[in-house]
């Protein structure tokens, strides 16, 4: 029972192809439209920030990292609820991310239920 958003969608940013498509597939299965981007740069280049209702991003990426992405959004006063998922579980990083306003911080392999719930929660904010 998710909200169907007409104009907005979930953005998935991860440099790993498998991960991107897996998450995108998962979101589709719960009726959440999602768009995937290989890098932070690609996301910003696309100009879809305003249409993004929720952002799922990896932390460690070449070029713009997940945290950099978050910082830039903050700087642009783009308040998009952000969920971090990372293969490298890093407690300090988690603190930093949460402090900067992250909705959730998940480690791979993540619990799909947990992710879905986090997304729904972010959308209801």
């Amino acid at each position: 029972m998710g909200h169907q958003l007409q104009t907005k969608f979930v953005a998935v940013v991860d440099d790993d192809d498998s991960v991107r498509t897996a998450i995108q597939g998962l979101l589709k299965s719960v009726g959440l439209p999602a768009r995937a981007y290989a890098s932070g740069e690609e996301f910003f280049d696309s100009g879809h920030q305003t249409q993004t209702a929720c952002l799922i991003t990896d932390i460690r990426m070449p070029g713009m990292s997940g945290l950099d992405l978050q910082a830039r959004l903050n700087a642009e006063r783009c308040q998009i609820p952000t969920i971090f998922i990372t293969a490298h579980g890093d407690q300090d990083m988690r603190l930093q991310a949460m402090r900067a306003g992250a909705v959730e911080f998940l480690s791979k392999p993540f619990d799909d239920e947990l992710l879905v719930e986090s997304v729904r929660a972010a959308l209801e904010r």
Binding site: A22, K28, S29, K108, P109, F110
Partner: protein
Amino acid sequence: MRQPLRILSLEDDPRDSELIHGLLEAEGIACEMTRVDSQPGFRALLEEGAVDLILSDYSLPSFDGLSALKLAMSIRPDLPFILVSGALGEEVAIEALKIGVTDYVLKTRLSRLAPSVLRAIREADERAERKHAEGALRRNEAYLAEAQTLSHTGSFGWNVTSGEIYWSDETYNIFGLDRSIKPTMEFVFQRIHPEDRDTVQRALDRVIDENLDFNIEHRVLMPDGGVKYILALARPSRPSPGILEYVGAVMDVTATRQSEAKLRESEAYLAEAQRLSHTGSWAWNPATGENRYWSDECFRLMGFDPAGGMPPFETVAQRFHSDDQPIFAEKLERARRERTEFEVDYRITHPGGEIRNIHAVGHPVLGPSGDLVEIVGTAIDVTERKQAEDNIRQRENELRHILDFAPQQVAVLGPDYRRIYINQAVLDYFGLTLEECLSLDRSWFFHPDDYERIKSETQSKFSTGLPHEVEYRLRRKDGTYRWFLFRYNPLRDEQGRLRRWYAAGTDIEDRKEAEELLRQAQANLAHVNRLTTMGELTASIAHEVNQPIAASLTNARTCLRWLHGDTPNLEEAREAATRIVQDQTRAGEIISRIRLLFKKDTSQRELVDINEIIREMIVLLRGETTRYLITLRTELAEDLPQVMGDRVQLQQVMMNLMMNGIDAMVDVDGTRELVISSQRVKDGQLTLSVSDSGVGLPPERADHLFDAFFTTKAHGTGMGLRISRSIVESHGGRLWAGENTPHGASFYFTLPTIDAQA
């Protein structure tokens, strides 16, 4: 006077004839009278010839005295003809005298007949004698003239007192004077060669003074410029007091003098030739056993002085080397006995102690009856030549020694690759004799695996005619095979034609063994390097593998979701399941690549696509690039030709370089970018590069970058670049490093592609 006198009487009255006969007999003139009374009878008796005197009547019936006289004059003018007749008259008498009658006696005065006959006979005899003498004289003169011409000798007479000169024909010839001109002493002196005039004059003065014979040789200058040599001999005589005459001969001795000069000249040349060639000539008398003749050079050869005269044979023989004496004697004896050629070599000691080598040759000279008259021959001093020959022989032996004992196999081949020379080292190695070596088929010597290769390689290399090398195994006498490196050098003649191949072979078995050990050691090292690197990559590999596995989990859950609920969406479920398959495949590939890298023995060469290798390593190292937040960029050329290489080893190189690049950027604040490129440089080669924006090359120690155990990392082994370089080089490429701008390092390496490798 002949007795009896034969008288022809022309008388018609026989009584007259008898009368006359009786008259003559009475005066003591013994005679035989034959009477004729006709012309034919007269003529016949005259022609017969046995007549000493003719007494003729004047008038006969059929004939007359004057006609008879004429007839007698024509047939026998030498016969005295006395007319006996009556009175004839003055005119007849004069006529008869003109015709040639000897006397005329009147029949009335027959007392005059006997004296007349006697006188006539006497005169006839005298005439005959004179004629005879004149004939003899003329004959002698002719002989003399002939003799003079033949011997180029002319005679002369010179009346010193009057200056008158007589010359024979030949003397005219010799002096070149015309017969019509009378010779004078002035003329003679004109002819005498100017240089000889004084000498001749002085000689003449002296002989005249002292009344001696003269014997003078001088030159004569002829009008045509020719020079003659004249020998003048003469004897003085005083035909009457106050008159001095010289009578003698002049001889043209030019030819003799010239040939004498030529002979002297050729003798001089011969002596010179002998001296220059150290050849002497000799003649040995078998009867006496002594040398009859030695040329001057022969004396010198034997160490004797020509002025000292011919030394006795024994004296000479004593100077011979004691070993040579008996041989010489035996050979000479054989030549004498069998009258054959003689040839011997011997050593002779000179007075100064010097030993010379002599080579003597001789021929027998036989007499008319076939017996040996003497042996003549030459002797040559061959000491220098012998010395030179000995030197050459010695040097040849030395060279042969050097070649035989050189620690290399040496062989010489002809233009047809036939083995001309093989040194001892070769024979010792094969354990064969020279004959065996040359007779065995080539295949016996080589390792069967090498034989085909050698044949084709040799053929192409030899046909270029250039120096070249070949490596192959040769079978040793104990049956084992050892590796040899043979180098071949061609030798050409002046026309540029190939005459010889010089081959030298070195035993490189030990080297090969060492090379093999090294190769194994390197392979081991490379393996260790891989393991170490793999160890370093554990975390990132784990991460890499983890990604697809984690994604699979999500996809599986998604799949279940689609299948759950009232209306399962099979299509979506299928898609999710497909994604799982892809993820797992990806994970499996990573695993298998890792497994490959863990393999120890990797010496497999195959055609590889270098871009594929690059991509595979990128996949493997993605974990690392992600972990350190490094952007990875590739610039890979399309359609690169393949490389014949070892896949694992090339992956290892790529991995090493990428790891280094990543490591260099770990602590860098700015952009972290790893760029990998591949491009075709030229035909047969491609270049790859791995560039980072890291800390760059260590400044002072840039040349040690590729050294073993060189590392800037705290826990590095320092072998990565070393191993990478040896791998690249073993593939026929080069690996080097350069600075990157604005900072960082680039590593480049080339590889030969399939279209370059023969």
